[in-house]
């Protein structure tokens, strides 16, 4: 597929005269393609040139701009470190966000502290923005827990592995915010693959019907493991919103400024009672789906290379350098910080203890359960029986 092919791909239904007629008009198709490209909100081009958009403006201080750069570099470093740790056998699995830093940092930095995030399992950059310690994200990938951080300490819910399920939780949470009369907003992350899930459609319905303050942030990274976006949809994903009765917008997902501006606007709509909005961040998963995947089996190098030219970090750096907002000393400082983060993550993971065996029985229920109690006692006695045997063996 071509890199922007998802949106422009026309119906392949054969035998239809109307389709044939449409195909016979390349000029019209070209105009449609152009219109589609115009829909992509962009504030920073892949070449690092600042451009304006009629609907979405942004005005950031040099510190804020540098902050976004730092966030993206450190997130990428953390991600790379996690991939390495998986290769070394320290993690069982890792879902890399490589290439999606702008989508995550831009949207993550648009949030207020009192807003609430419902992530998938790849939102390492958003977690970073929320102040979740990156090492906390690694427990589930190491196999020592299924998440385990306190969602309410950073208003960042646990990672959700069942695709799309969290969009309903986000919607319900937003309905609760609305009942409380609060002006917080909720953001639900999901991907192009999840857009096919019934739960996502139901969350669109519920949020629209109740006018819930939720932003649906879809990172269209073009691939759901091995399936390209055209296996999920025949219309650009952002257009799905229209049928549910709320606006959708496609943003350049590799442009951190555009992601920030659009998400901010969407959150503002939500908190002022204007209901949900869908943001489709058009981006690319540069790496594999997870460390268990082999993308060379299903996609071409040229495609990945074309997206490499749109790298989110490089374009911001080009801009910052051109504007004289960073110098070598600053960049070297970030490098140093990045190395320190990598080291800290490595050490933290290697030092992460296995949970106590009896943790199997913990927190199954909030108020307890007789069967769990019985099985806990039986298993403890079973284990203790070996301790007795060991002691006896030692005595003999």
């Amino acid at each position: 597929m071509t890199v922007e092919g998802t949106a422009q791909r026309k119906s392949t239904r054969s035998g239809s005269k109307r389709t044939t007629a449409k195909k016979a008009s390349p000029a019209k198709a070209k105009a449609a393609d152009q219109a589609e490209r115009d829909q992509l909100v962009q504030l920073l081009t892949p070449e690092g040139k600042r451009v304006e958009h009629p609907d979405y403006a942004i005005d950031l201080s040099p510190d804020e701009l540098r902050g976004l750069y730092r966030d993206m570099v450190l997130t990428r470093k953390f991600d790379a470190e996690a991939t390495t740790l998986q290769r070394q056998g320290e993690l069982g699995l890792w879902a890399s966000l490589l290439g999606q830093e702008a989508a995550q940092i831009g949207s993550g930095r648009a949030l207020r502290d009192d807003d609430y995030v419902f992530p998938t399992y790849r939102e390492h950059g958003v977690a970073w923005c929320r102040g979740v310690d990156p090492t906390n994200l690694l427990g589930m990938f190491r196999g020592v827990n299924h998440g385990g951080w306190d969602p309410n300490s950073n208003n960042f819910h646990l990672y959700t592995i069942v695709i799309g399920a969290q969009t309903l939780h986000a919607t319900g949470y937003a309905m609760g915010v609305q009942k409380d009369g609060a002006d917080s907003a909720v953001i639900a992350y999901f991907g192009d693959g999840a857009s096919s899930q019934g739960d996502v459609a139901e969350s669109f319905t519920f949020s629209a019907v109740y006018n819930a303050p939720v932003v649906f942030f879809c990172q269209n990274n073009q691939w759901a493991i091995s399936e390209p976006t055209e296996k999920q949809t025949r219309v650009p994903l952002y257009q799905r919103a229209r049928g549910f009765g709320f606006p959708g917008v496609r943003v350049d997902g590799n442009d951190v400024l555009a992601c920030l501006a659009v998400t901010k606007a969407a959150l503002e709509r939500a908190r002022t009672g204007q209901g949900p909005m869908l943001v489709e961040a058009f981006t690319y998963r540069m790496g594999a789906h997870t460390t268990s995947d082999d993308p060379t089996k299903y996609r071409a190098d040229e495609e990945t290379l074309a997206w490499e030219a749109k790298d989110p970090i490089l374009r911001l750096r080009t801009y910052l350098e051109a504007e004289g907002l960073v110098d070598d000393a600053y960049l070297a400082g970030i490098e140093e910080e990045s190395d320190a983060l990598g080291k800290r993550v490595r050490e933290a993971v290697r030092a992460m203890p296995d949970p106590d065996t009896m943790a199997i029985f913990e927190n199954v229920y909030a108020d307890g359960h007789a069967l769990v109690d019985e099985e806990r006692a039986q298993f403890a006695a079973y284990q203790a029986s070996f301790a007795d045997a060991d002691a006896a063996a030692e005595e003999n």
Binding site: L168, G198, F206, A366, L371
Partner: protein, 327 residues
Amino acid sequence: MAVHEKITIAKAINASLRASMEADPKVLVMGEDVGKLGGVFRVTDGLQKDFGEDRVIDTPLAESGIVGTAIGMALRGYRPVVEIQFDGFVFPAYDQIVTQLAKMHARALGKVKVPVVIRIPYAGGIGAVEHHSESPEALFAHVAGLKCVTPSNASDAYWMLQQAIAGDDPVIYFEPKRRYHDKSRLDTEAIPDPLHKARVTQAGSDLTLAAYGPMVKVCTDVAKVAAEEGKSVEVVDLRSLSPVDFDTVQASVEKTGRLVLVHEAPVFLGMGAEIAARITERCFYHLEAPVLRVGGFHSPYPPSRLEDEYLPGLDRVLDAVDRALAY
């Protein structure tokens, strides 16, 4: 009014929801048609009028959406009581219930609670079309993280629902729909039994019948007929299906030496299978006969003209009683 001499299960559930909503402003009722209509069985009749659309929520017709948004509201601090219109319609929500609701507390290492109660009118006997008469309780009781309860009378319906709502765990509350209009006594100032305790509703010495929900009445009738034939049958109303109060069943079986389990759900891998296994283990030397089960067949729930044959009735239970006593 503290004592209702004769109140239907449906009205008792309504009164229970009302009491819960009055006691705790975080309690919400949500589901399809629960508002203006008061539910297809009128169980939530009048609640929206009194508590408003904000607390008694007519939802879109999407069960996964109902349970999924209820989870989100619980995470925000609410206590949603969800109605699934009929047993056979719960399955679109099964994913949310099993993969999300049941596991959320454990995944968060106890740091969040999801006190969602899911009310499901279940089981047959009302002459309905397909998907309206099923008994899927074992599919939920099997899942760690969920609690499952089912009342058989108005008093339990009233108290058990409030206890479920007040607890911090997700509870599936199965309502025996063919008993909705059966009347019994309710004292709203009584001290209720603990939610997960079984109850001996009829004392006997020759055999224990253990049942729950709609089959408790059948078993009570069986005990009467058996008594006329000189057989003393004890009836245990299990009330809670997860956890099961094995101690109460065990104590009964140690006394009677015989156990017959009765439910509408298919026998194969049903609640009776688990209880038979556990009681055999606990009461091996007390048993005078193998533990027997009476229940549905390994077939889809039949068209309603056949349901009287399909459902365990007086005669089929008596037959099992006779077989157990023949050892």
